[in-house]
């Protein structure tokens, strides 16, 4: 009897799935898949990014009818920050002709890098991924504006130097680096090593394994023992709020604690009043007071098309998602202008990304005046190495406390070139660039 029911159930399930037919693609639209993670240990950061990305593109559809008259077909694929699921998402969206892929995980980006050229789908790993992919001649299909992790690190060092009175004043100081013990956190290590030798400061490393993200008391005990003058953090997901809480617990001076551009408001808020003074890098606004965010409020949130809760609109990571989607939209628009086609393909959008030139006038037209700075890419420079600023937590929100800081390009560029060359050698035969350069600049 049990066997019969089981077999019947199995048969029914198989029949149902056999009947399933893949959905047909709507005519005249551009397909943009969004690799998001609203579940898993990194959902704390991923949810805001996903909402920001989704809402901006939906706003374009609602307000302007799409880009250049062509609607954007947005589809989210849940990766949970897991490489295997990310690859499955990639394979699942490939038949639908995506114009671009945003993996939102360095772990997922790395396996996709060699595939991008073969599948002709550009990858936009905005401010994450492989730093060396800034070299457009070696990686024609990978883009990582506005800055690499090495640029960001150099900008933090410059900010610290400014606090101390100059780069030469860093000699003899101790700088602690707490990081997620994964590819993303480990990438700046050679750069940190080089800078510490050149500038004469002592670097102290505090790795946090991904399984121990919520158990950092040992790392912060070490910080208490070593007493570094400054702490730099490269975290993500649940690592960040725990780090800030532990820093408050061990009474580490918060104004000397600077993070790369990934914390959110919730990460700092959870630590209470003691977190005031916590700093992080950013390159765009973190409040809802910009015309573009107000448009999103009007066309998407008030129309009930957003999954975000009202108070999260306009926060740092939400706006990060909006910025990412702005890059996607502008790349599509540039591709339409360059090729003259309305429904563009991955190859067209690759050219669109290389020719991307968003100046102050265009920012104003987008409703982003004061939100962020101009951005320009080129055939050989897929990053742009743009300036960022430092913002500080005041207990309720982040407030900009510095001017725009340029990266130490003279130190970063040789490293990028060397790393790109090493990558091509290690993965020989690495295809030489055959894609033509539009040379619009």
């Amino acid at each position: 009897m049990k066997l019969k029911t089981t077999l019947l159930a199995l048969a029914a399930a198989t029949a149902l799935t056999a009947l399933a037919v893949p959905a047909a693609q709507a005519e005249d639209s551009v397909f943009v898949p969004l690799f998001t993670y609203r579940t898993g240990p990194f959902a704390g950061s991923g949810i805001f990014i996903a909402d920001g990305m989704h809402d901006y593109l939906t706003m374009l559809n609602e307000r302007d009818g799409g880009i250049g008259g062509v609607k954007i077909a947005v589809e989210e694929c849940e990766t949970g920050y897991d490489t295997k699921k990310g690859l499955e998402c990639y394979e699942a969206v490939k038949p639908k002709n995506p114009v671009m892929v945003n993996p939102w995980s360095t772990g997922i980006t790395l396996p996709l890098i060699p595939r991008a050229a073969v599948d002709k789908i550009p990858i936009l790993s905005m401010a994450y991924g492989l730093s060396a992919s800034a070299q457009g001649d070696t990686f024609p299909w990978i883009f990582n504006p506005p800055d690499t992790y090495w640029d960001g690190f150099s900008q933090i060092i410059k900010f610290i130097a400014a606090q101390e009175g100059g780069l030469d004043k860093l000699k003899g100081k101790k700088i602690g680096y707490i990081y997620l013990d994964a590819g993303y956190g480990r990438e700046p290590l050679p750069f940190l090593d080089q800078l510490s030798k050149e500038l004469g400061f002592e670097a102290k490393l505090y790795p946090v394994p991904a399984a121990e993200m919520q158990n950092q008391s040992a790392q912060w005990l070490n910080v208490r023992r070593d007493r570094p003058n400054y702490m730099i953090m490269y975290g993500w997901g649940a690592m960040q709020p725990t780090a800030i809480k532990e820093a408050v617990k061990t009474n580490y001076p918060m104004d000397k604690f600077i993070s790369i551009w990934w914390p959110s408001e919730d990460d700092a808020r959870g630590a209470g009043d003691g977190a005031k003074g916590f700093k992080m890098l950013n390159w765009h606004g973190s409040t809802p007071d910009f015309p573009v965010i107000k448009d999103i409020q009007k066309y998407v949130v008030d129309a009930g098309k957003s999954q975000s809760s009202k108070e999260k609109i306009g926060t740092t990571l939400y706006n990060r998602g909006v910025y990412n989607s702005m890059l996607i939209a502008e790349a599509i628009r540039t591709a339409q202008q360059v090729t003259g086609k309305k429904v563009v393909t991955g190859e067209d959008v690759r050219r669109g990304l290389e020719d991307l030139n968003i100046d102050a006038a265009r920012l104003k037209a987008l409703g982003m005046e004061g939100f962020t700075g101009p951005i320009k890419l080129s055939c050989s420079d897929h990053n742009g190495h743009h300036p960022t600023f430092v913002q500080q937590w005041d207990g309720t929100k982040y407030v900009k406390v510095s001017d725009w800081i340029e990266p130490l390009s003279d130190k970063v560029q040789p490293l990028l070139q060397a790393d790109a060359k090493a990558y091509a050698e290690k993965n020989a035969p690495w295809p030489a660039r055959t894609e033509a350069c539009d040379a619009r600049s």
């Binding site: 959905a23 609203r38 989210e76 490489t83 690859l87 490939k94 394994p209």
Partner: protein, 357 residues
């Protein structure tokens, strides 16, 4: 009625002891082989690249774990780490000696994993059952830490990840981005068929029987002359070899690049699930378990879209977890011995149909 066994009689002892004594079973097996070989002609790229290749690789890893846990009764939670050892070994060997064929290195990396497995299997003489599982957990976390902390393993890449170089076999790309899913599928299929054949002979022979004796009651096995340490270490060795090869295949034929996180504790648990659901101590169970645990979430994720329902991606993910968990409990209640037992019962019923027994 389907199984006309009348007239099939054996004239030699060898024929009598064969694994598939009934002609219909052999025909069925041949049909499955043919279906597997011609699948790329009918299936789309997603099916080959994201369903069949991972399924074959995970089934191989399940076979490896099944030898240890199913046939020898030594519960191991370190499968992910042993897969990682195989993957990193293959990467180092392939990048140090690029001229030698990658398939050779995939097989050799199994031996590296075998050595590491034997090392971590040494406590098994003293520690038994659930406690041994914790010893293998030590292996899992320690090896995962090594993958990150020893930069020599990933050739000092700043990203800390191993990237698969492009390799060819007779001029056709087999690894790297230019390798087509079909090529990778056939290579994986070839390796899995070869290993399954070897393992099948192993478990049906003297070695397999000594494994099962150790599983049933190791003191009694020792009394009848089976050397316990040797047998247990052999079980660890064979199991780690197979999981090491599966790990190398996972990185070289499926993912294309991997960080240490790809071999974390979740990977170990997933393979253990596959073995238990499929049926402990059964080769067909490894395949069935891998199919259920791996392919079912894909179907659940793809189902709403196929029926025209738009459900948020996150909700689909939550539902996938719910349904997977519920299905695991359901199958365990219905048949605690796993899907392999269901298959066995089904075959038995077919043999005597239309009679009930």
């Amino acid at each position: 009625m389907f199984y006309r066994e009348a007239g099939q009689y054996k004239t030699t002892y060898q024929a009598d002891m064969s694994i598939f004594p009934i002609l219909q079973d052999r025909i069925g097996l041949a049909l499955i082989m043919v279906a597997a070989l011609v699948l790329p002609l009918f299936a789309g790229e997603f099916m080959i690249a994201s369903v069949m290749v991972p399924f074959l690789i995970l089934a191989l890893a399940s076979i490896g774990l099944n030898i240890l846990t199913g046939y020898t009764g030594l519960v191991s939670l370190g499968t992910g780490a042993f897969m990682g050892v195989g993957a990193y070994a293959c990467y180092k060997l392939s990048t140090t000696f690029p001229a030698i064929n990658i398939l050779v290195w995939i097989v050799v990396s199994g031996f590296v994993s075998c050595a590491v497995g034997v090392l971590f299997g040494l406590p098994s003489l003293r520690i038994k059952g659930f406690y041994l599982a914790v010893a293998t957990l030590a292996a899992q976390f320690f090896l995962q830490w090594c993958f990150v902390r020893l930069p020599w393993l990933y050739n000092y890449n700043p990203s800390g990840a191993i990237e698969v170089p492009s390799r060819t076999l007779f001029g056709i790309h087999v690894t790297g981005a230019s390798a087509t899913p079909t090529t990778r599928y056939y290579i994986a299929l070839a390796i899995v068929i070869a290993v399954t054949w070897i393992v099948s002979n192993l478990v049906h022979g003297r070695v397999g029987r000594s494994f099962m004796a150790v599983r049933d009651m190791d003191i009694a096995a020792q009394l009848i002359g089976i050397r316990l340490l040797r047998t247990k270490l052999l079980a660890f060795a064979v199991s780690s070899f197979i999981t090491g090869v599966a790990g190398a295949m996972m990185v070289f034929l499926w993912l294309g690049a991997a960080e240490a996180d790809a071999f974390n504790i979740n990977q170990s648990f997933v393979i253990l699930f596959m073995v238990i659901i499929g049926g402990l101590g059964s080769l067909i169970g490894s395949f069935l378990g891998a199919a259920l645990i791996y392919i079912m979430p894909i179907i659940v994720r793809a189902a709403p879209e196929s029926f025209g329902l738009t459900i948020g991606a996150a909700t689909v993910e939550h539902l996938t977890y719910l349904i997977t968990g519920a299905l695991i409990i359901f199958f365990l209640i219905v048949e605690p011995l796993g899907l392999a037992r269901l298959w066995q019962i089904g075959k038995q019923k077919l043999r005597v149909w239309p009679f009930p027994y």
